[in-house]
Point group: C2
């Protein structure tokens, strides 16, 4: 791959990204650091088209990058912009006034800011909470045969669930059960709470089996619930202003945001760009997976807590996206998140 051809590819992408129009040889020849004639550029562009990096909407139009074109551009010839001072200051203020232990709020702030500043949708998932262990279980009576199970993990996650029993429990039964749960579940990892384990637990209840069974079942459901990764999405409406995205697709996505989970959870590290046009091999299986919004792309990065991946942050936008502008924002904010939550941890350990 010629050096000049890469330069031309970069020029096409840059021009197309800003104008939205197919870009012709003349426009590129006019650029200051291109010193060849339109005809030469036309020849090179024909080659780039052969390689599948560019394409023509129709015979007498300029060229448009394909998703492979964008890939090569991002890998080989993109010049990342530096973040303007004003934006940097703004991003520095995003987490002000937010309690560092409130991860949900941090993520909300981060995605909102990212969405506003990039004019795209911003998404986030926390990492699979596979290292969480149960730190506390409470059963609290709240009404006729109605009980609340409260589950707290070492990571500070809290969830509750109401549960109706066949009979009311007396004081003794309740304290027995609470002690029983603490004994058997304290320090146990959420991932270890298999249905089999719950069965064992129920049989271990002995005579209380029938009475308390539903509570154990409820507890199991609660633990499943806690293992769900939390998906945060913000600014989807920004996508509507892109004409190249289909409104129906966007709304479909709004109603079923979960579909991007497998893509977000794909195995990779560092900044990663994926396109709706390409078929992804998910880590979990060989089955291909395609994102619902046609002509879109997603840029994903990780944030860490004390060196361990704590979650991922992503930007969803049109394929025709100013990657050179947008990627630095994502890098900056993931780094900031990492610093924030990791620093906090150290602070705690003192």
């Amino acid at each position: 791959m010629d050096d000049r051809k890469l330069k031309i590819l970069a020029a096409v992408v840059d021009a197309y990204v800003t104008t939205g129009e197919p870009v012709g040889s003349k426009a590129i020849a006019a650029l200051p650091d291109i010193n060849v004639s339109p005809a030469t550029i036309r020849n090179d562009m024909a080659v780039l088209e052969q390689l599948g990096l560019l394409e023509q909407p129709h015979t007498s139009a300029g060229r448009v990058p394909t998703f492979q074109g964008y890939k090569v551009y991002i890998d080989k010839c993109m010049h990342a912009h530096t973040i303007p001072e004003a934006d940097r200051e703004r991003l520095d203020r995003v987490f002000e006034g937010t309690e560092v232990f409130d991860e949900e709020l941090l993520i909300q702030s981060a995605t909102t800011a990212l969405a506003e500043i990039t004019h795209c949708a911003a998404v986030a998932v926390n990492a699979m909470p596979q290292f969480s262990v149960i730190s506390r279980v409470e059963v609290i009576p709240t009404g006729k045969r109605l009980y609340v199970i409260l589950l707290i993990t070492s990571a500070g996650n809290i969830k509750n669930k109401a549960c109706r029993l066949e009979f009311d429990l007396n004081e003794e039964q309740l304290s027995f059960f609470t002690a029983f749960l603490t004994e058997h579940l304290h320090g146990v990892s959420l991932t270890d709470l298999s249905p089999e384990r719950m069965e064992q637990l129920i049989t271990a209840l002995g005579t209380y089996m029938v009475t308390l069974g539903p509570l154990v079942q409820g507890l199991y459901e609660l633990s499943r619930d806690m293992m769900q990764q939390e998906l945060t999405v913000n600014g989807t409406r920004n996508l509507l202003t892109c004409q190249e995205l289909d409104t129906m697709d966007i709304v479909q996505f709004m109603e079923h945001q979960d579909v991007i989970m497998p893509l977000l959870n794909d195995t990779f590290s560092g900044i990663h760009v994926m396109f709706s046009e390409e078929t992804h091999q998910t880590a979990s299986g060989s089955a291909g997976q395609t994102f619902v919004i046609g002509n879109s792309s997603m840029i994903v990065g990780q944030y860490h807590k004390d060196g361990r991946e704590a979650g991922r942050l992503g930007i969803i936008g049109p394929m025709r996206l100013d990657y050179a502008r947008v990627i630095p924002y994502l890098e900056y904010i993931t780094q900031k998140l990492t610093n924030l939550i990791s620093e906090n941890k150290e602070d705690d350990d003192i």
Copy 2:
């Protein structure tokens, strides 16, 4: 208002609702139970237009109902359809397998079904929980200086909130505080938890004031949180298939669903239809309020628990909506919800 004119109005609405095209005099004259000539119908339609019930998109087009036209139609000359057997059976199965005490899930099921069957968006709010009183408050330590406040109301609502303190509490302080809260707050209505009352509470803490103040503050925020009505919205994407609704409006609504709260909370009882074109006087003030989605309408009904309004269910669709078909569904499902949750209560009282 002539009897025949009402008949013609009904015919225009019915035809327009199904075809989506402005309806002309000839089409109406062709209907079996209309026995006058097109010319006569034209004269009547001119009168209906004068009354503001019909309008012409342009001079040489048929007539289209105005929102006043729909209002009169619904009040005076609509023939409500009967629900087809298949749909009735389907609605009867909607709540199967759902715990009756899980109101959130019931509402989810109801709105989802309603949205699917009407091809509109379905919304729900619970009634203001102004009669809820605090039945239980717990403070649970979950980590370094980190505490969870758990609040449970008589209505069975449960919420928790994490709270970070300056210092750690010892056993004694914790049990003191729990006892203190139970003493001062058990049986207290959420609406009575004014900031002033919280102030009193904090001063009553005496020497603990500084240490425990943040927890009281957290509790207050939690109570505010609980008084929020829960809004449920489902099937908004159905609205996108209506060309007469603006996509931007719909997405705006998706991102800020709260805007319909005041409309849903408007004072009325029974089935009520409102149009985005009319300006509503909200109960709370004289200020007018207009719904964001242009050319839309909302049909709202109530469901009850033991004779007291427990919440509202609504359908949002285009103004051009088959009211005769859709309203019976809303009536049926609110009735069903009422029976379900009220019956459950009786069952409890046995």
